[in-house]
């Protein structure tokens, strides 16, 4: 299991990266953390002719406050995000998600941007960024654009980025007051790809009624799968187990589109989505009521 040959570039700045991407187009792959890419290269399922290593651009690895939220450079590593106090404060769901991603060795190397750009429908960050309505800053030689999560993920491992594009930053907007969140997932072993998972975010009014809700699922289709109708059932309501059940049933029966593999049939995934939604909603409502 040795990778096929490639040409290796180590640009030192974003413009340098962009011109390399422009030059090589589909022949090039960006090497960020490499924790998904390199295994596939070792299996020779991926054989890029050119590898553009973006690990030597320090400004891409910064974490900064941004309009009451937080802004993460694409090259922020998972372990860096896991320990960052600003993320813990401004994006607690992101903070909580980090230890659930793979293993410590992977988190020490894997990057936020790499995970998002890879757009694996089983990746926690893909789902969490969708639930939090994150915004993706993309650059190419022609300039810069910002794409919301709802438009960033367009299909199975496909994003709104073309071969000339570089994801430079992700912004997580702040959660409103009286927000609650939860990420629940089931994996065969804790660090395996989850069989199914759900990120729930709710915002309550003063009477504990849900003002806004979002449910997004992982391993439930070809990308992060939102369940707006199930979320809609929650709006205007206070939490009851029956309400959670109704939303869970709606989402798992009608809104997700999971596949089958050796670990779980689509049926079992729908069942798990149902169970996890109920658990996630209970936790999210609880947290929202807890104030803050």
């Amino acid at each position: 299991m040795k990778p096929a040959p490639f040409k290796y570039y180590v640009p030192r700045s974003v413009p340098e990266v962009l011109s390399l991407l422009n030059e090589h187009g589909y022949d090039a792959k960006i090497l960020a953390g490499g924790q998904s890419l390199v295994p596939m290269m070792n299996f020779r399922l991926v054989q890029p002719a050119v590898l553009v290593d973006i690990n030597n651009i320090p400004e891409m690895a910064e974490i900064q406050p941004h309009e009451k939220g937080v802004r993460l450079g694409a090259m922020v590593r998972h372990s860096q995000a896991e320990k960052d106090p600003l993320i813990k404060e401004k994006a607690p769901l992101v903070h909580e998600t980090m230890p659930k991603i793979a293993t410590v060795q992977i988190r020490n190397r894997g990057t936020i941007g790499g995970s998002l750009a890879h757009a694996d429908p089983s990746a926690e960050l893909v789902v969490v960024s969708t639930a939090l309505d994150a915004r993706f800053k993309i650059q190419n030689l022609n300039g810069e654009r910002v794409v919301p999560a709802s438009e960033f993920f367009v299909g199975l491992m496909v994003t709104a980025m073309g071969p000339e594009d570089l994801l430079v930053e992700v912004e997580f907007p702040p959660l409103p007051p009286r927000s609650g969140w939860s990420l629940k997932e089931v994996a065969r072993r804790p660090h395996d790809f989850a069989l199914v998972g759900v990120a729930a975010v709710v915002v309550l009014d003063k009477k504990d009624r849900c003002k806004e809700a979002r449910l997004v699922y992982l391993s439930a289709g070809d990308g992060p799968i939102s369940a707006p109708e199930a979320a809609g059932l929650l709006v205007g309501e206070q939490f009851t187990p029956a309400l959670a059940t109704a939303a869970a049933e709606k989402a798992s029966a009608d809104e997700i589109d999971p596949g089958s593999d050796i670990h779980a049939t689509a049926d079992f995934r729908r069942h798990l989505a149902n169970v996890l939604t109920q658990r996630a909603l209970e936790e999210a409502f609880q947290r929202a009521k807890g104030g803050k």
């Binding site: 299996f43 399922l45 991926v46 694996d120 367009v154 299909g155 491992m157 709104a160 071969p163 089958s260």
Partner: protein
């Protein structure tokens, strides 16, 4: 892997039948088709560059149409090989008239994937298949619309052949609509 589903086309049974027997259309519907040639009656030879995220593989193989029952049903078998593995499949296609100008296509089949792809990519194969089918119908819908329009306008239909490089960029972007439609994704 069982593949099963249906798709409603905006065209008559005959128009849909013809659509499927048009090599150029078939070539454009299958993502990354580099070459598709009719080598003998009802037998095509194809080379495809399949790309799923970063995974790209070149497959070559044959596509055979049999059990033709014009204009309602036929059987399609595919047999392809590439460095990352092989795939073979057989499926039955039925076209059912739905009112004057619509045709419901029902398909059921069995696709088998082998080699490295199956061995290490198992987790995604089902979703990949769904994705490819989704894309194919998207393209076919467009092609059918173009054919129907061309027919009424009395001109030759014009298909843009999809290449590997614009597959992810354009086809995938087309897919946004499709995905949103199918999953009811929250756009807010």
């Amino acid at each position: 892997m069982k593949v099963e589903g249906e798709h409603l086309f905006n065209g008559t049974q005959k128009q849909v039948w013809d659509l499927f027997r048009d090599t150029a259309v078939m070539a454009s519907a299958l993502p990354g088709t580099e070459k598709m040639e009719l080598i003998e009656e009802n037998k095509y030879e194809a080379v495809m560059n399949v790309r799923v995220g970063p995974v790209a593989g070149k497959f070559s193989g044959e596509l055979v149409i049999s059990n033709e029952d014009f204009p309602t049903s036929y059987t399609m078998t595919v047999d392809g090989r590439g460095k990352p593995g092989f795939l073979k499949g057989a499926g039955d296609v039925t076209l059912i008239e739905q009112g004057a100008n619509q045709t419901l296509m029902k398909y059921t089949g069995d696709v088998q994937v082998g080699g490295k792809l199956a061995a290490v990519g198992q987790r995604l194969i089902d979703t990949v298949a769904k994705s490819i089918i989704g894309q194919a119908f998207e393209t076919l819908d467009n092609a059918l619309a173009e054919r129907v329009n061309a027919e009424t306008e009395g001109r030759k239909a014009d298909y843009r052949k999809s290449t590997e490089s614009d597959y992810a960029a354009t086809v995938a972007k087309d897919l946004i609509k499709n995905v949103l439609k199918r999953t009811g994704r929250d756009k807010s």
